[in-house]
Each structure stands twice: as C-alpha cells, then as structure tokens.
C-alpha cells in the first residue's frame, strides 16, 4: 500500500528524516515509534504530500507527487492537532468534507454511527463545543467518509482520557479487522501492542530497526507483573506449580504476583488452569526494567 524509498526531509542543515526506506503492505497495521523529535510526524506529513521532500513515496503504486489527488483519495487522515473550523456544526463539517471527498451524503450517518456519534444528538453541536474525545471520533469519521483503504493517524490518542483511549483503540481494531491498512505514529507502547502488526523504530530521523510490538517491548525491557486472584487454599499449590514452570511467583495477601515477559501474560493463567487451579480474576501492571533500552 505504501512504499517509501530514500525519504529525506531537511530543515536547513537539520535532517528531520534521513534516508528512510520502508513499506506497508495491504491490510497491515504499521506503527512508527520513536521519542519526541524522532521524525514520526514528518514522515506522515511527507506521505500526505504536505511537505516537500527528496526520495520516492508511492501509495498503491502511484507516486504521490505525480498523482497527488488520486493518492489522497485512498487516504483517510486523523491528525494529531484536531484543527477544524470551530464555528461550523458537526454535521456541517461532515457534509462539507463528504462533498470534498466526493462521498455519498448517506455515508455521513453511517460513519458517525460507526464511531459512536449520533447525528441527532451531536450533529447540531458546534465543533468548539465538542470534547477532545468527540473531536477525535469525528476526525476518524471524517477519515472514513470515502471508505479509503488506508488510514494515516498521527499520535492516536494524544488528546484522550483513559476511557476514551480504550474506546478509540477498539474503533481502530475494528477498522483493522475490516482489512483497512493502518499507518500511524505513537510513542505509547500499549497503543502499539493493541493495534500494530509491525513497528518501525525511528531515532533522529533514521530508521533504527523494524520489529514486532512484542519484540519492541522486550527490547525496551518491559516487564509485566501479573496479579492472579485464587481461592486462598490453592495459593501455595499455585506458587509451586508456577515455580515448576520457571515463573517467579510470590504470595501477596489473597493473590499471587507473577513476573512475566510482556508477550507471555497469558501463560501463567494457562499453567494454573491445566493444574486445575481455579483463577477467579487477574490484572497486570507494566514497568520498564532498569537499563532497558533500544
């Protein structure tokens, strides 16, 4: 879906993106990961044709400079800064962009419903009256208007509270299941783990390496502590069973705390189930090991 060859973007003598080459396949969800200033947003803005650059960027086999309109028809974009015309109402904005993207006007109700916004309840509200979560949902609805095969998202949940983040990630997972290609930036590991198939790690504008989200977590030294709640009489048996399978498990009041790698959170649950130990509930917390680095 996207092919990037030798992409370089300079601001004066500063290389915001330096000789980046990568690709995103059809239906794939690829995350650009990196700290602030790594060049993630610059790459997306180049792919959207918003910045001048050297190198080649193709979307669906078309060079974005030679076929700027045709390539942008294939892209739905959710920006980091949600800047819309504040004095317009939500429905006015949706209809304006549906005409701009030559989408059928019936799509407006469909996509609003898809992102959990109601034309009757939210449609009359002016953009400035919408919460950050609603704006983000509206931005996704706008991106979906013409049913594009590719979604480009800049910092998925930067404006959202925890509850809204979960809802938004669920929306994106649904888009992925429908076969849409996702290309997004994030500096949050939980977002990447939830959606991405592959991660391109950027540092100082250069591609450092590519990996799976789990591999990224491992390289970062992400450790999870699994809290397993069991009947009190089975706690000792559970500690023994987990220790036998190589897990570091300790009793913690009415629960067990088990240290697991980020990509093995379900394994202790399976071990306990196979030993006929009834798991009542579980929870986990994540933390980075001291010295964990890329």
């Amino acid at each position: 879906m996207i092919t990037i060859k030798a992409l370089t973007k300079k601001y004066g003598s500063f290389h915001a993106v330096d000789n980046l080459s990568c690709s995103v396949g059809n239906g794939e969800a690829v995350a650009l990961w990196g700290s602030n200033g790594a060049g993630k947003t610059t790459v997306l803005r180049c792919v959207l044709g918003l910045l001048r650059y050297s190198g080649i960027i193709e979307i669906a086999g078309l060079d974005i400079r030679a076929s700027e309109k045709a390539t942008r028809e294939k892209v739905g974009y959710v920006p980091q800064e949600l800047a819309f015309h504040d004095d317009l109402r939500l429905l006015e904005t949706m209809h304006f962009f549906s005409r701009l993207r030559r989408a059928a006007s019936t799509r407006v109700a469909t996509v609003l419903d898809e992102v959990g916004l109601s034309p009757t309840v939210h449609g009359r509200k002016r953009i400035r009256e919408l919460s950050g979560g609603m704006k983000q949902r509206m931005a996704l609805a706008l991106a979906l208007l013409s049913d594009p095969p590719l979604l480009i998202l800049d910092e998925l949940t930067s404006n959202l509270d925890t509850k809204a983040q979960c809802g938004f990630m669920e929306l994106l997972r649904r888009q992925k299941l429908r076969g849409r290609t996702l290309f997004f930036t994030s500096h949050r590991l939980d977002e990447i783990e939830a959606v991405a198939d592959r991660v391109i790690v950027l540092g100082a504008g250069r591609r450092q390496f590519e990996c799976t989200p789990y591999e990224l977590a491992r390289r970062l030294g992400l450790q999870c502590t699994l809290h397993v709640f069991l009947p009190p009489e089975q706690l000792d048996d559970a500690v023994g069973e987990l220790a036998r399978c190589g897990f570091d498990a300790t009793r913690n009041g009415v629960s067990l705390s088990v240290q697991v790698a980020a990509n093995e959170k379900a394994v202790p649950i399976r071990v306990l189930s196979e030993a006929s130990i009834r798991v009542r509930d579980f929870d986990f917390t994540s933390s980075f090991e001291a010295g964990g680095r890329i």
Partner: protein, 300 residues
C-alpha cells in the same frame, strides 16, 4: 524558419500542460470552497462593518451631490461618481486587502490548512475557490453601496453621466479584485493572520498615502519628465483607478496637469484600455505569484 514538424511537438506539449493544469481543477470543489468563503465573509464582522461604512458613505455622498444641483439634479451621476472616487480609494482597497490577507494565513495559523491539503484537492482549487468566494462577497458588498447611491439618484432625478457612473462601478470592482489578489499574495507569504493583517494595512497605507507623496517627492527631487511621471504613476493601482475614473468623468486628464495632458495626447482613446489592462494586470500577476508561493510552501 518554423516547420510543421517542430510546431507539432510544441503544440502537443502545450496541450498536455493545459490538460494537466485543468485536471487540477474540479468545478465542484471550487464551488464548495467559494460557498464556504462567502458564508465565512457574512459572519466576518469586519467585512460587515466595511460594507455598512461604504454603503452609508456612498449614500451620503449621493445626497450631498444632488443637493448641490437643486431639485432636478442633472449631472447627478457625474458629480456623485467624482465624489465617490476618493471613497473608493480609501475603503475598497482596505476591505479587499484585509479580506485576502487573512484568508490563507488564518487557516494556516489555525492548522486547518494542513487538514484541507491532506484531502483529495489541489492547491489551485483551494486558492481559486477561496478567491472566487471572497470576490463574490466583495462584489456584493460594493454593489450594495453603489446600488443604494444609484437608487437615491434615480429617485431624486439625477439623469446624466450614467455611463461614467457604471464605468466607476466596473473599475471599482476590478480594483477590488486586484487588491484581493495582493491580499492573497501577502497571505501566502505569512504564517500568522495578525502579521498578514499588519502587512496588508501597511500596504494600504503605502498605496494610499506614501504612493502619492513618493511620486510627488520623486518628481521634485529627481526632476522627472512628464513621461516618466505618468509611467511611474501607472505602478500604483490606486493612481490608475483614479486616472481611469477621472478620464471617464471629464473625458480627458487635463485636470491632472502636464502628466495628464501628456497621457491624453499620447494615448488618446486607448487610455481607457490602458488603465483597464493595468488594473487587470494587478489581478492576474499577484494572484499568480500567490499561487506560486502557496504551491511552494503548502501548509508550512
């Protein structure tokens, strides 16, 4: 000597260029942006204020002109047209420059320009759509002022020099479109709406006051010949507008002194066409430059 074979590739190339250029334009997208810009203008209180001010002053000038010629106001249109010249020179360039100057810069500052340019549209559609929308809003606003003025004169019995009045309306609209183009050029060069507005106001000041003073000063200091003086004055669109309006009212530019006499004697009946061409040039050239700058800079 140009042969047929050398002509054909050149013709094909220019046809391809034209095709590529027109493929960048969708009438639907132009109309969409134009309509949005017109609606935004109706909500813009500065635009409304300028319209009201221009209408009231045009109306007042019409009354005053007619008062000076008694009840049967012969030559009412001509007198009113003459008094409207200074009003047009003051208000219309300010209105058009500020409207154009905030158009792109405000969108850029809000961040909406990036989002618009990420849609399947070309920069030409966005720029032209905005320009057409503002041009229609300006035309409506100016027509309202002139229309009220004409209505009063028609009711009060002014009858002569209708043509000069219509010519004044026409060149005022052309001047407005030219100043709108200059406003777009300013807007394409600046990042912030406040800076753009400031530059627009300085440009207006420069054209209205400094242009006149500069011309007078240059003529005195450099002992300019009438030829040079006339051609220098063609550089200022407001001067061109003033000369075009006067030429229409008094049939010659003798009232402007030696430079005016030179212009009348040299260009004769082609004077109107010359002024119209210069004013149209002020529409095309800055707008083309604005498009060039906007294409180069995009949303940044």
């Amino acid at each position: 000597m140009t042969t047929l074979s050398s002509c054909v590739p050149a013709a094909v190339t220019s046809h391809c260029r034209l095709a590529r250029f027109t493929s960048k334009l969708s009438v639907g997208t132009l109309f969409l942006f134009a309509r949005k810009e017109m609606r935004d203008s109706l909500r813009n209180r500065w635009f409304i204020l300028y319209t009201i001010a221009f209408s009231i002053l045009a109306l007042a000038l019409a009354f005053l002109s007619l008062a000076g010629v008694g009840m049967d106001g012969f030559a009412g249109f001509g007198r009113t047209a003459a008094s409207l010249i200074n009003l047009v020179i003051l208000i219309i360039p300010l209105m058009a420059l500020t409207a154009g100057a905030t158009s792109l810069a405000a969108e850029r500052e809000r961040g909406t320009l990036s989002y618009l340019l990420a849609q399947p549209i070309s920069k030409l559609e966005l720029l032209l759509g905005k320009y057409i929308g503002l041009a229609v809003a300006l035309t409506a606003s100016i027509s309202l002022g002139f229309g009220l003025s004409a209505a009063i004169m028609a009711v009060r019995g002014g009858s002569a020099d209708v043509n000069s009045f219509l010519w004044l309306v026409a060149i005022s609209l052309v001047l407005a479109l030219g100043m709108l183009s200059v406003g777009f050029l300013i807007s394409s060069l600046t990042r912030k709406a406040s800076v753009s507005l400031g530059v627009a106001i300085f440009t207006w000041l420069g054209l209205v006051f400094l242009g006149d003073l500069g011309l007078m000063g240059s003529a005195l200091m450099m002992k300019l010949q009438v030829t040079e003086l006339f051609h220098l004055s063609l550089l200022n669109p407001l001067q061109v507008f003033k000369m075009a309006a006067l030429a229409s009212i008094s049939a010659s530019l003798d009232v402007l002194g030696p430079a005016g006499i030179y212009a009348t004697q040299t260009y004769g009946s082609a004077l109107h066409a010359l002024f119209a061409a210069v004013l149209i040039g002020w529409i095309i050239l800055p707008l083309t430059l604005a498009f060039g700058v906007f294409s180069w800079r995009g949303a940044s």
